[in-house]
Point group: C2
């Protein structure tokens, strides 16, 4: 097997987040850049609202960074909608070469990984990564239309209405360092309940984290924080139990974006947040500023994705999942892996 | 604007194709590696048949190349099914890091581009790229179930049942050289007819080809052949007319995989073939052998994709399209762009 951890020498220069009203009302509400109380973003359909969030997120990230669209060599984008139309339409107005991704809720990290790898390889000076999800478009596509009023089981997660955009630059730029990446392997362990995606995704996160710790000869103690994308309460519990059983406990410093974004007591989200937008907006507006300020010096971020479709579940198949990992460091931090 | 053409130094080491009965009966039938007369590949649903084609295609490519799965550093895969389940399930058994793509019918070229860029950058020694489409799964998802017996207009294309897998290696490997790439920009020119995807995709192909010719200061005469993915008869006509009007005629040496794969007289496919599998299998089993043998020394391959969804069309939106370009050369050919 080739060595699997990829060395990266790039920086996240800037990021922006756009969210809906529920995310704005949550514990991280004040961190997000832009929100719309109606979740509609002046659009007539939920799908168009999702596209609009992507457009606004990328525009905001470019503005923050003081960049024009022609300063960006390529963009990597994806979402949960069929044929990833959230991205295709949302980013149509940007005259930037486009790589479409499908990584389900791991898309933000998949995009950051590819963007930073291509920058490390010298192919681009600067790239953008954008992803999104919308509670209403996701419910209607994956489960039942909102009007149906279906009951949600306790293990169900609440799809985040949000879009995060990131500008990645080369090592000379100022920003948060991306130092390493470990792409995920598709894992399926028999979970076929679309209302328990945390359990479906946990095995992929375990696989990636164990591969990373073993190859890098590090453990949780070497990082200030380990963030997973959207395992929620259920998936996080499974992840922590298995990591402990495997001899790599992460109880002390594990956080999950799906647990952070909503208040479990007051927001009735059951097992937490999920969706391509979940890890994207939490990373963009909550985690990155902590690393930029030096409050966190070194972190692992693991984007987790459940890659089933409503059809594949109806045909009796279980949920395949993936977990992509990147290692982030405060600009001033020394690279402990040298 | 950054220079847009990306220099690549990688080789397509090996490729394999799997097709259905109609593709086997077509003009290129004898070139394809594997076919199933029933189009079912021993599966109970069309979606599972599509996944099985991907599994078989990658297995065949690995076997041809004399490689094991752990010789491959990463795979890039995608298809047309909602949430790209053709790839997620089809490749589940391979213990290879996975990057999910959504580029509609441009996926094969998008994957070859990313794989060869990451190899050029030194991140991987060897990668795989796999994509697929299936006539029956696509009809039921995009248009009407087969049993409905809907009439097809003359501009409609026939989704190819097929999967192509490619193994890309570094410059030391033996194979067809990938010398350059130009990623596409998403273009939408108002075509909203899902039965005329050639017309929707042609503007993207024109944009990419013109950008390539202008930046590289070359024209069609500098290449033995220019292949587009799946513009079909209608889209190819538009492409050729506009390229001529723009001062870069390609009439002499343009071919379209969608036109090559079926016999327009005897196979009743109207405007030709389409689908992620179309350019994948034609490139894998017809174009690459010609370049390998030296019959073609230098070629451009432009993967074209229409990125709408049935929902986006119902919501009144037009079809956004993309065209990704790679330049291929016979191993012995000199690089005329130096």
């Amino acid at each position: 097997m080739e060595q699997q951890i990829l060395k990266i020498n790039a920086k996240i220069v800037c990021a922006a987040s756009v969210v809906g009203h529920k995310e704005h009302e949550g514990p991280l509400g004040s961190y997000f850049d832009i929100y719309d109380q109606t979740d509609k973003f002046k659009q007539k359909t939920w799908e168009k609202a999702e596209s609009e969030m992507q457009r606004v997120a990328l525009s905001a990230a470019l503005t923050k960074a003081g960049l024009e669209e022609n300063d960006v060599g390529a963009m990597f984008a994806g979402d949960l909608l069929n044929q990833c139309v959230g991205s295709a339409y949302g980013l149509l107005n940007f005259d930037i070469p486009y790589f479409g991704l499908y990584g389900a809720c791991s898309t933000a990290v998949e995009g950051l990984m590819l963007a930073s790898l291509l920058i490390t390889g010298g192919h681009f000076k600067r790239c953008a990564t954008i992803s999104s999800s919308h509670f209403c478009s996701a419910e209607q596509q994956y489960r039942t239309p909102l009007e149906y009023g279906g009951q949600r089981p306790p293990t169900a997660q609440w799809t985040v209405t949000g879009s995060g955009a990131f500008i990645v630059g080369d090592s000379k730029a100022v920003g948060v360092k991306i130092c390493a990446a470990l792409p995920g392997i598709v894992i399926e362990k028999g979970v076929n309940d679309a209302s328990n995606m945390g359990a479906a995704m946990a095995p992929a996160a375990i696989d990636t984290l164990l591969r990373f710790f073993k190859e890098s000869k590090t453990s949780a103690a070497d990082y200030d924080a380990i963030y997973t994308g959207d395992l929620g309460a259920e998936g996080s519990k499974i992840l922590k139990e298995f990591m402990e059983a495997d001899g790599y406990p992460i109880n002390e410093n594990h956080f999950d974006c799906g647990n952070l974004i909503f208040d479990p007591e007051y927001q009735d989200v059951h097992s937490g947040g999920s969706g391509c937008g979940c890890s994207a907006v939490v990373l963009a507006s909550y985690i990155l500023p902590k690393i930029r300020s030096g409050e966190i010096k070194k972190a692992l971020v693991i984007g987790t994705g459940a890659m089933m479709s409503p059809s594949s579940l109806k045909q009796g198949l279980a949920i395949p999942a993936i977990a992509h990992l990147i290692m982030l460091e405060h600009e001033g931090a020394e690279d402990g892996n040298k």
